[in-house]
């Protein structure tokens, strides 16, 4: 069940709204409509669904309508047309009272420039959402403190925003948004005002928090690296329209059109693709059943010089080389244990490719991808290089 369902959502700024909508239906571009009617298309018939617990990233160039779209979701901007269905309720047609309730209990927002009230202490800022609901002082203070603890600012309750660094201020923004325990977090370029190191830290922290919170997060950014790092799904916007929605890998590997392709062109793939994405199904022999003869036969057939060895439970035991197998055959050894080597490098499946690259460079044998002692796959050096170059086979199903 999706938590948020957006259907045919449009926003036209300006006077000739009706005419602009009609032109949109006719397929006129944002530019043509601006010329003909003087109205600006903010969002053009967007439709998408966001599942519970998902980080849904909306990405696009400046002016593509990201901020407008996210503000349509909690109706800080009134839609011109279309529906925003949150938990089965349509915000677009909802009365004022219900809208207040939804904003107070279901959705919170985190702002690009933090949006903290300078005359309120950190605690008072964090309490704001609870305060407007009329929650008693003691309870809201307790919740706000817990929320500040969560973002690591438990000791700053009595400070004022101007006394905190940018990163800390945005933690307060996050704590304030979490204090009333909403289902949905709306984050409009929440980390864009931070310098790169702090930004990365905040991304990690958000992901850590998300592991325990399992909120539904709509995250706006114009930075593809950020989108790929934190997004479970990414929607790409252009001129108010959503041009592609998909997992980070889908967006990267199968861009829907030129616009998306341009966008993803300069992405550093090494920061995105994981071991799981580029590994191959391994050729193996079973140490409990097979001896050097079978191992050698398999290697000759596949044209490889090493083969991985597992046991009957598919636990990885090591590998043997063709040379060792030949020697073993000659000296009538029937067991693989004698020639088993265990020095093959192994990585977890979500290891990023830039880490794998260094390992594969120094290893004469393919890298193993291991989970709970079981062999999932292997990565040959060629695969790393061709994936870095944006070619080659890539495994797109989610790990």
């Amino acid at each position: 069940m999706p938590v948020i369902k957006v259907e045919g959502l449009s926003k036209v700024f300006g006077k000739n709204v009706k005419q602009a909508l009609k032109l949109l239906e006719e397929g006129k571009t944002k530019e043509e409509i601006l010329k003909q009617t003087g109205s600006t298309v903010g969002v053009n018939r967007a439709s998408f669904e966001v599942e519970a617990g998902e980080i849904f990233v909306i990405m696009g160039l400046s002016g593509s309508g990201k901020s407008t779209l996210v503000r349509l979701l909690n109706r800080l901007i009134d839609p011109t047309e279309g529906h925003v269905i949150v938990d089965g309720e349509d915000l677009a047609t909802m009365n004022k009272k219900d809208l207040l309730r939804v904003r107070r209990t279901k959705m919170s927002m985190v702002f690009q420039k933090f949006g903290l009230f300078p005359f309120r202490s950190i605690l008072e800022n964090t309490e704001y959402g609870l305060e407007v609901q009329g929650i008693a002082k003691e309870e809201r203070s307790k919740k706000a403190r817990a929320s500040l603890e969560m973002v690591g600012l438990g000791n700053y309750v009595d400070q004022y925003p101007s006394q905190l660094s940018g990163g800390m201020q945005q933690r307060v923004g996050l704590a304030r948004a979490l204090a009333n325990d909403p289902e949905v977090l709306l984050m409009d370029e929440a980390f864009s005002a931070l310098d790169p190191l702090i930004r990365k830290e905040m991304q990690d922290e958000l992901l850590d928090l998300q592991d325990t919170m399992k909120k539904t997060i709509i995250f706006i950014t114009h930075d593809l690296d950020e989108a790929l790092r934190i997004g479970d799904k990414i929607a790409l916007m252009k001129d108010g329209s959503i041009v592609q929605v998909g997992s980070p890998e889908e967006i990267l590997m199968n861009p829907a059109n030129d616009y998306v392709e341009k966008f993803v062109e300069d992405v550093d793939r090494s920061k995105v693709l994981t071991a799981y994405n580029i590994m191959k199904r391994p050729e193996t022999v079973n140490i409990d059943k097979h001896g050097p003869r079978v191992a050698l036969e398999r290697m000759q057939k596949e044209g490889i010089s090493t083969i991985y060895v597992t046991d009957s439970k598919r636990n990885l035991r090591g590998y043997v080389t063709a040379d060792d197998a030949v020697v073993a055959l000659r000296s009538d050894v029937t067991n693989l244990t004698a020639i088993l080597k265990t020095d093959a490098p192994s990585v977890p499946k979500d290891t990023l490719m830039n880490a794998i690259f260094d390992i594969s460079h120094n290893s004469p044998v393919p890298i193993t991808v291991v989970e709970d002692g079981k062999l999932l796959g292997i990565i040959v050096r060629g695969a790393v290089i061709s994936a870095l170059a944006g070619q080659g086979e890539v495994n797109l199903t989610h790990a």
Binding site: L100, K113, F119, Y128, V132, R176
Partner: protein, 286 residues
């Protein structure tokens, strides 16, 4: 040809205004008379009460307040003591108290009327478009002119003085309240709304606190204008330091006029610093 105005009858603008004033004054007599009488009486007893407090106590009180409001510095406190002692010494204490009560009441009323109008303007483009030219008009019309309808409505004394002062001194509070609220950053307003604030919560919890410094600057201007009205209002019988200045003017008595004028200056400086310190007090957090 060039003198075509000779052929056009003069529009009886002055006559209309007089007539309208007469009508207003007559038909609202039920309103103006009690204001004139009750409010006037209350005002006088308030002024008398102030004047009845021993000067030493007032001076000490002002000095202590000045000390704390100026961030525990002695400058303003010392100035207040010396200045007020001088006024007392010149036998103008009662006049000073009368002027002060006039300024105080006029300013309070200006703020009570001005802030809500400013809020209305900030919330409605239409209200802003209507009120702005009215404010321009109120401020550019020479202050003396207001004395005439003031007398028509409230005869002479303190009440018409305060009425004229209201018209003259309220605009800055209105303008700067409007400006202050409109200047609150878009993001803070959005933050207030996104967390489900009602209109009133947004106003009182975010907009007014954010606009406070600007509004206080407007109030400071209002108080100063009200003070400048002290002299002008003496022309319609408002008592106080202004009346001393006026009578000195009529007798061409430079010395007395100067001393009374000095009293006004001292009052002005003290009031100015006091209202300014209110606007800057919590400024460290902003």
């Amino acid at each position: 040809m060039l003198n075509f105005m000779e052929n056009i009858e003069e529009i009886p603008l002055a006559e209309w205004v007089s007539k309208a004033t007469g009508i207003v004054s007559d038909s609202f007599a039920f309103l103006f008379d009690p204001i004139k009488n009750e409010f006037g009486d209350g005002l006088e007893s308030f002024a008398d009460m102030l004047a009845a407090v021993p000067p030493v106590i007032v001076i000490l009180l002002v000095a202590v307040l000045a000390f704390f409001l100026s961030g525990k510095r002695f400058g303003l406190a010392a100035f207040s003591i010396v200045g007020l002692l001088l006024v007392w010494n010149q036998g103008l204490w009662e006049e000073l108290m009368l002027s002060f009560s006039l300024v105080l009441v006029a300013s309070l009323l200006s703020v009570i009327i001005g802030v809500p109008i400013g809020i209305l303007m900030s919330k409605s483009k239409i209200a802003e478009n209507i009120i702005t030219p009215v404010l321009d008009f109120m401020q550019t019309m020479p202050a003396f002119v207001y004395l005439i309808p003031a007398v028509a409505f409230f005869s002479i004394g303190m009440v018409p003085g305060i009425f004229a002062s209201l018209i003259f001194a309220t605009p800055p509070t209105v303008r700067l309240t409007n400006l202050g609220i409109r200047q609150v950053s878009e993001e803070l307003v959005e933050a207030a709304e996104a967390f489900g604030s009602t209109g009133a919560q947004k106003l009182f919890k975010v907009e007014l606190p954010m606009a406070k410094t600007t509004i206080m600057a407007g109030i400071n201007q209002t108080v100063m204008l009200a003070l400048s009205m002290v002299v002008i209002a003496s022309m319609i019988g408002a008592p106080g330091l202004g009346r001393e200045v006026l009578s000195a003017l009529q007798r061409a008595d430079v010395g007395t006029g100067f001393v009374a004028g000095l009293g006004i200056v001292i009052l002005a400086i003290i009031i100015d610093r006091f209202t300014q310190s209110f606007s800057l007090k919590k400024g460290t957090n902003i």
